[in-house]
Symmetry: C2
Subunit: 338 residues, 2 copies
DNA sequence: TATCAACACGAAACCGTTTGCGTAACACTT
DNA sequence: AAGTGTTACGCAAACGGTTTCGTGTTGATA
């Protein structure tokens, strides 16, 4: 087992000083031709690589970025992560991931741990717990320490930092408009608990589109489902209670699950009832019928977030915080048209 | 903006030496009661936390583990990752993720980068490129340097290290046995290019089950699909060419896609033709019909891998390498039974 | 021959911690 | 008064690098 070789080892072996070795390897003008060649040859032979940790300590830069997300087994977050990782790698950064598991406490612990020198900046999306609690002290601490932070998707106005979000309200508005243009008037909304910022934004767009057509927003057309372990019976009851000919769902799982239920109830999609979901994931493409859905362009969001972060880290202009709005795209499939 | 406070800052402020501060914070017996209290109070007030990088350098332990996987927008890998992250966190480790994107070169670059001190050990699954090239020099380098390595799922015999794999051959065998017990005899296999180790293992199990019943393995019942961008026409041609009443697919996407095609061809599932896939992901649960599939227990695999790794790191017994075999579970759903 | 610049290299500080060891100050013993 | 033992702290090395500055040795110049 040959341990990693260090500058000191090379210096000892070649009977020169450590600083000479260091400079020789950087091709410094200070060092003579012969010595440089000797050192470089030796280093190559023994496959010398500088120790990242030592460099980090010296430079006060780790070349790591921390990503804290609520979940990883989740299509949207993985696509964003892919974007982050891709761009970070291009710029020579590595990515440390922590999963908050939708828990406020874990989010706090993870961020504080990483903030102690492990990373140069954060990309985060808030956990459900944090959004419910509305407690952002850990994020304020981070920014106060001068650690750059970029929030994406699940953001909050109380935290001032760079942000990347979807035009949730606008694209939900467009989706409902599409239903309306199709002659559908009894449009339901299937959503999550209201402390999810994005769900609220989507609900606003939904309502705006309705009101614009003089259609009143009826509370009985709004179904609020738990984040996990959705019960089919609840869905069935909802769809039995009212006449509904179109449904906007805030994610693809809700949409696919609702489609399955109404199909079992004998309704035809899209003739009797149409669906539009959010997240253009694997489910939307392979469901039956295929699902018309809002592509959130997660990978682009990730790239943008990483780019903004690295810019802050490396340029560190004290320029004002920006919020980049990524425009969703409605992908038309079988749940709205034949 | 209040920068992170260091031992030196505390020492200067309190007019004691750095070592006194360090010892006081560790409650060392060497330090007097008064001084300890003073230092501890000050540290708490200013929220002192030791710098991770400095600790890493000193201890020669980063408390980071590196995870290199082929893809992240992929159900199985994300579940494994979740298991790794969960266990690592419990043990006080952070996780640095690199995505090889199925490329040999990226895998090499990423591992070499991380191996220069950034991590204490690796958990990896081989990229397609690496399996095709059969070049493992980067892994040998890692292990030669004494960096612990655990491979999961996509492993290779040429690399000697700890491993976690599924009983692929055995569970494929069982799946086919299930078809046979059901009276089905024309059983097809839909698989990937053969350089994927796991696909080969599954094919072996498939063949073994057939041969055991005196059924010959017919090459025209084997469909090899590309890893990405599968064309429906090819699938249609395959299913038109032969009489097929059961299909074993090496992943859930192939299965769902094939199901959609044969349904369009007018075949009834599971009456005319039954399907079993691999990976109990979101698709299997929401497809139409729902898919009978092999649960790979990715999260458990991840936990086991992380546990093995951390054991090597912390205990570092030179004990022989182990291969843990996780047993898959066939989850019965609508694609095999009504 | 004294001066000086250029060259090639080494010493040392620094990044933030930990820790073995040395020691000043004091009390206590004989 | 000399010796001994604690106590409570500081010094310095070490982890593996980078970088500033100092310096001995040349050879050229005046």
């Amino acid at each position: 087992m040959k341990r990693k070789i260090t500058l000191k080892d090379i210096a000892r072996e070649l009977e020169v000083s450590i600083s000479t070795v260091s400079k020789a390897l950087k091709n410094s003008e200070e060092i003579g031709r012969d010595t440089k060649e000797k050192v470089q040859a030796f280093a190559k032979l023994y496959n010398y690589r500088p120790n990242n940790i030592a460099l980090s300590l010296k430079n006060k830069r780790t070349k790591n970025i921390g990503v804290v997300i609520p979940d990883i087994v989740h299509y949207f977050f993985t696509t964003v992560f892919r974007g982050i990782e891709k761009l970070a790698n291009q710029k020579g950064y590595n990515v440390i991931v922590c999963v908050s598991d939708e828990s406020f406490d874990k989010e706090v612990i993870n961020t504080e741990l990483l903030a102690n020198g492990s990373i140069d900046g954060f990309v985060m999306s808030l956990s459900a717990g944090t959004q419910r609690k509305m407690d952002f002290h850990h994020l304020l601490e981070i920014t106060e320490q001068g650690i750059p932070l970029v929030l994406f998707d699940r953001v909050d106005d109380q935290v001032s930092c760079d942000k990347v979000i979807l035009n949730d309200r606008e694209i939900a508005y467009q989706a409902v408009k599409k239903f309306l243009a199709n002659g559908r008037k009894n449009i339901a909304l299937v959503t999550t608990e209201s402390y999810f910022n994005v769900s609220e934004k989507r609900a606003e767009g939904y309502e705006e589109a309705l009101l614009e057509e003089q259609i009143s927003v009826r509370p009985e057309l709004r179904l609020t489902l738990p984040y996990r372990d959705v019960n089919d019976n609840e869905i069935r009851k909802f769809f039995s209670a009212s006449k509904i000919d179109a449904v906007l769902c805030v994610n693809e799982i809700f949409a696919v699950q609702c489609m399955a239920v109404v199909q079992k109830m004998g309704r035809k999609i899209p003739d009797d009832i149409a669906f539009i979901g959010f997240t253009d994931g694997i489910l939307s493409k392979y469901s039956n019928p295929t699902l018309t859905t809002v592509a959130q362009h997660g990978e682009r969001m990730g790239e943008i977030a990483a780019e903004m972060l690295i810019e802050r880290i490396e340029i560190d202009e004290e320029k004002p915080f920006r919020t980049v709005i990524v425009e969703g795209t409605i992908i038309e499939r079988g749940s709205t048209v034949n």
